[in-house]
């Protein structure tokens, strides 16, 4: 009703149909309208009530999020494959929701390496669940959350899959976005954010995920157990080279490895907790010795990773965080209640954190005293822990329908 009152045409109708409070409100609005020219308007953002008028008049505005820092978190809710989904911006320091962005079907989130912008690769249809399909990239300002770049992708090339973070990524200079195509044949789309267009779909063999090692090179993981290096130019012309096979056919690597572009480190657990690490600094894949997260005795007791984003890596301290629990075989996507912490270089276990809640995804902030983020889809809540002690420090609840994916920036 207040909207109707605010319009000049709405006023007589309101007076005619409503009594008491509505009439008082209408009078107040009239008084305010009169008071502004007479009283000199607003000074310093504060309203100036006319003499004898005690009722305050609020200023109104649109908020901006504070400048992003290492504890800026983006939580994506794919909402169980709904066509309309949402992305939540969260301040980890305050445990506070800062804003929300609309996204489409199984969206992927990217965050600039300096935190200055974030974006999504998304898919919508002209009639909600059907009609003309549009795949697009939308880049938003980290403070205003307004779109600053919008690029439509021709021929609907996005791979529609439950969100795997490393299927869509930025190059370290934040000038190019790379995304994966599964059908009709494997390819990686090169999008120029400066030219605001899809440059080319670069053909690749039967390989998955995208780990950019610099602005012109990225690695992928292939079905045969090797890594693929792709070296590309600004026009999308590319050279491809495979590495040795580094894992066995029955060692199943999770869909959600951790990747630190600044460290050039891929951390990649299997269903049983054997954890492979690949160092891609200098655009060469160097395979570090794999470590076992669990002893044979622990494995016999059922200890194994489980969840969606099951692994996180803290660059400065070289620590690996693994989400795990005691579980039956083939429950590798069910949530876990514990995080095991390892020294990256040696695989030595440093800590076991009891989160105290069912957790689907974890991430860590990349500051000196990192926060450990633990997302519960069922509870629709992001729990924020101290990564060293494991103590829960705050939480943000009511995060959509089934929030599943955490993105942060190593700024």
């Amino acid at each position: 009703m207040t909207h109707a009152h605010g319009r000049s045409t709405g006023l007589p109708i309101s007076r005619a149909t409503m009594a008491g409070a509505a009439t008082a409100l209408a009078l107040l609005l009239s008084a305010t309208a009169l008071a502004q020219p007479a009283g000199g308007g607003r000074i310093g953002g504060q309203s100036q009530p006319p003499a004898g008028q005690e009722l305050p008049v609020d200023d109104t505005s649109v908020e901006q999020a504070p400048a992003p820092n290492a504890r800026r978190i983006y939580v994506s809710d794919p909402a169980h494959f709904a066509v309309l989904t949402q992305l939540f911006t969260i301040d980890g320091d305050k445990g506070k929701l800062l804003g929300m962005s609309d996204t489409g079907f199984v969206p992927n989130t990217v965050v600039a390496s300096d935190g200055s912008f974030f974006g999504t690769a998304s898919t919508v249809w002209s009639r909600l669940g059907h009609g003309k399909r549009t795949d697009y990239i939308e880049i938003l300002d980290a403070r205003t959350h307004n779109p600053i770049i919008d690029i439509e992708l021709p021929k609907d090339p996005r791979f529609l899959v439950g969100t795997y973070p490393m299927m869509t990524t930025l190059t370290p200079d934040n000038k190019s976005l790379l995304f994966y195509q599964f059908s009709p044949s494997p390819a990686v789309g090169l999008v120029s954010l400066t030219d605001k267009k899809l440059v080319k779909m670069m053909d690749v063999p039967d390989c998955y995920h995208i780990f950019p090692s610099d602005n012109n090179n990225f690695f992928m993981h292939c079905r045969d157990g090797s890594m693929l290096k792709v070296t590309f130019k600004a026009d999308g012309s590319a050279e491809r080279k495979k590495t040795q096979v580094f894992h066995k056919e029955d060692e199943y690597l999770y869909n959600t490895p951790a990747y630190s572009a600044k460290a050039g480190r891929i951390v990649w657990p299997t269903y049983t907790g054997k954890t492979f690490q690949v160092d891609v600094t200098g655009n060469e894949a160097k395979f570090m010795p794999a470590f076992e997260a669990f002893s044979d005795e622990e494995k016999a007791q059922g200890w194994a990773p489980g969840g969606w984003q099951v692994v996180a890596y803290h660059r400065e301290s070289d620590r690996v965080f693994l989400l795990a629990d005691q579980r039956a075989k083939w429950t590798h996507k069910s949530p876990s209640r514990f995080v095991f912490v390892f020294e990256g270089k040696t695989g030595k276990r440093l800590n076991k954190i009891d989160l105290g809640h069912e957790t689907d995804s974890i991430a860590v902030s990349q500051d000196k005293t990192p926060q450990l983020y633990a997302l519960s889809s069922a509870q629709k809540t992001l729990f924020i822990h101290d990564a060293e002690s494991g103590k829960e420090v705050s939480k943000v609840d009511r995060l959509g329908h089934s929030p599943l994916v955490i993105n942060t920036s190593d700024m």
Partner: protein
Amino acid sequence: GRAEAADAVANPRGKWTPQDHDVQACNYWRHCSIDGNICDCSGGSLTSCPPGTKLASSSWVASCYNPTDKQSYLISYRDCCGRNVTTGRCGCFNTEGELPVYRPEYGNDIIWCFGAEDDAMSYHCTISPIVGKAG
């Protein structure tokens, strides 16, 4: 998700225990690697899509154990597409024998709508037809 199965509420990490009497429950034996929603709950059946949706021709597969005849069967999970997801109607997330995306024939996070009429690619629900016996 998986938590909707009555036996999984107590322990989401418990061993998969199939039954052969309630096709709308997440622990019905043919749903051993289903990801999404059971079509029987939204106007389809165990093997048919609801009105207005489009049946995909592609699928992922799993070998599911039937507790009644003690045989394992290959289930071809095909998606019904072109409508928004059937939120709140028999959502299930089972992963018996489910493999990572680099083994896509056993990967159930993929939207398996390829081959659906009108190029429908939004996810509505999944059917669980048998396509053969498994070893």
